[in-house]
Subunit: 372 residues, 2 copies
């Protein structure tokens, strides 16, 4: 890894990578500026999975790696609407979701700069992942959740020894409360930290490796805050810059119709690129992507545009139908994962005969929820 910096996406101010900050002084979100190194010959000598791309991850000392054993998630063919789609089994991570990619790198980084106490807001998979990796690193961890968050995932967070704190109000209220605590505890936000999506970018590395160092033509991903989509896009770009692949896949972001701010911005003619102030989300069973005000919305929209991609919104009825169908085919996933596959079905309806490889992901384990 070369010299790396944190850089503000709004004002371009730079900070040292070791600066224990979660955003720019101007309030803008931070990115990481650096040029990753790839050494494919090394990859084969290492245990497969995200840490086999060690040189491409912005972490200085190997000794700081915090890992629970992140498998190379299989890429499994599944017939969807008559078309073979390669499904990346991201539900097979230690805590049952792809969030472990981001959290493993983020907690490793925080450990490397001496952080011992973290706070995070989440009502689901990110919180469970943070609790597990903090426990593995020996850090104290506090997770703030909105009232009425789903009981099963809270059990998982509590089981890992994290301190769980319920906040009156909605998801945003929990985030605001976490910021309040950021003076005494490090705000290890998966939405704010660029280390999170520099962990999730390894999904792109793995998919290309699994396809013999070729990107798929189309990659269909669930989008809430956008950290998986951003990570994937950055991962493909880094592989292209390094000369391993010659083009980017078209990235299709899937949102629930009931909570689709990014799809609305993408398809809107409003030149500000902002979400209309009167946007009001409705409840969705795809709780993992129910993010009404994504922090990195500009970055996500730009990534999808650069990839010549698009957004697809799926209805609750479509998600329910696909969910049942996936379970009955042996894939035990949570409803959020079914939303993605409902998006794949939509995509194949819109483009009945797309050329090349279509890849997608199953994002969260079925054991996390009790199926209806």
């Amino acid at each position: 890894m070369n010299v790396a910096h944190l850089v503000c996406l709004d004002c371009q101010r730079e900070y040292s990578l070791d600066d224990p900050r979660w955003r720019c002084d101007c309030g803008g979100p931070l990115d990481i500026r650096y040029f990753p190194v790839f050494d494919i010959s090394n990859i084969w000598e290492r245990p497969p999975g995200m840490w086999s791309y060690r040189e491409a991850l912005p972490l200085k000392a190997d000794a700081q790696m915090v890992s629970l054993g992140e498998p190379l998630t299989p890429l499994v063919p599944l017939k969807i609407s008559g078309r073979e789609v390669l499904m990346k089994q991201e539900q097979l991570f230690p805590t049952g979701s792809y969030k472990d990619r981001g959290v493993s790198l983020l907690i490793s980084h925080l450990k490397s700069i001496g952080i011992t106490d973290i706070v995070e807001d989440s009502s689901g998979n990110a919180g469970a992942s943070m609790a597990a990796y903090a426990a593995r690193a020996g850090m104290r961890c506090r997770i703030l959740v909105p009232e009425g968050a789903s009981a099963g995932k809270l059990t998982q967070i509590r089981a890992m020894g994290a301190k769980l704190q319920s906040v009156r109000g909605n998801r945003q209220a929990a985030a605001d409360a976490a910021v309040q605590l950021a003076d005494s505890l490090f705000y290890a936000s998966h939405a704010w930290s660029p280390f999170f999506y520099h962990g999730t970018k390894t999904i792109a590395f793995e998919i290309c490796q699994q396809l013999g160092w070729r990107p798929p033509e189309v990659l269909i991903l669930p989008v809430g805050g956008g950290s998986l989509l951003l990570g994937a896009h950055i991962g493909f770009k880094e592989l292209k810059q390094a000369g391993f692949i010659s083009r980017l896949p078209r990235i299709i972001g899937v949102q629930a119709e009931n909570c689709n701010p990014l799809a609305r911005i993408f398809n809107s003619t409003d030149p500000t690129g902002d979400l209309p102030a009167d946007f009001l989300p409705l409840p969705t069973i795809a709780e993992g992507i129910a993010v009404s005000r994504p922090i990195r919305h500009r970055q996500v929209i730009a990534a999808v545009k650069e990839s010549k991609g698009a957004f697809i919104s799926v209805s609750e009825a479509e998600i329910q139908g696909t969910y049942k169908n996936l379970l009955h085919r042996g894939f035990y996933v949570e409803p959020t994962a079914a939303a993605t596959i409902a998006g794949v079905e939509s995509f194949i309806r819109l483009y009945p005969d797309p050329r090349g490889v279509i890849a997608s992901v199953l994002s969260g384990h079925g054991l996390k929820v009790q199926p209806v």
Copy 2:
């Protein structure tokens, strides 16, 4: 793969591998007699995991492979009582337990001989796995469970579209009821079918591959029916026969003190090698290994003896303590997995300074149960 046969362990009668039978006419359990082929050069060109050892698995046609994407489960170092132990993360299989190794091969075989309807008795992980792989293969699946079986795992079985049938009485009553149905449905028993442990044997292949084609000195495994232990032992023997390793690891089987028939037989002086008729198991939170009358007890005892291993029994208090400790270190497993690690702690107390590599497994996912 060479020509293979089913062979009875009691009367040595042989049957064709394609014979759709679950036991010998004499009532004895069947084994598979054949000489597996290994081609390590091929392994590296394939997706990592159990099916990369394709030639060593007794399945004729590739087209019959029924897979949900079985990852190469990571081998993660964990300090236990001051000693580093390598923990195989078997909870990261598609249905949340190592059973998928056995079931993936078993269902593949059944598909290859034209079976379309199966029945199995289970109250937990094997049933969930069977339901998932049957769904993937398009088979109809019926799972018989004893009254009062744990609700979480039943939800998982039902979600996959399997027909769930509650049987009055205990675990043995469910097994008896399954046998009753074996005239009209194929009895796909993970306890009876040798294909099951010819699937689980891949854990030995993977561990050796991960250690640079060396076996560990000691392998500590949970034992209920013994299918993981038998599989591991057979896997190491096959690697030794093929010349890839020069010795077998010492296998330590861990049972719950409250239900430890194999440990009792192993340590008994009774020359019959049978369980005393008055043996009465007590309840244990390690439900995955609560098998009071294991069908293959002679085979399991012989395997542990051949490996110069032993049995360790752990108390409920030890399991509870280790369970909480594992969760607080970030490993989200079910109580049965904690029993194994309590056994590892016992082993290290008994042999404070064993030479070489100690390996063990985390067998089932924490998401399967609600932690206490």
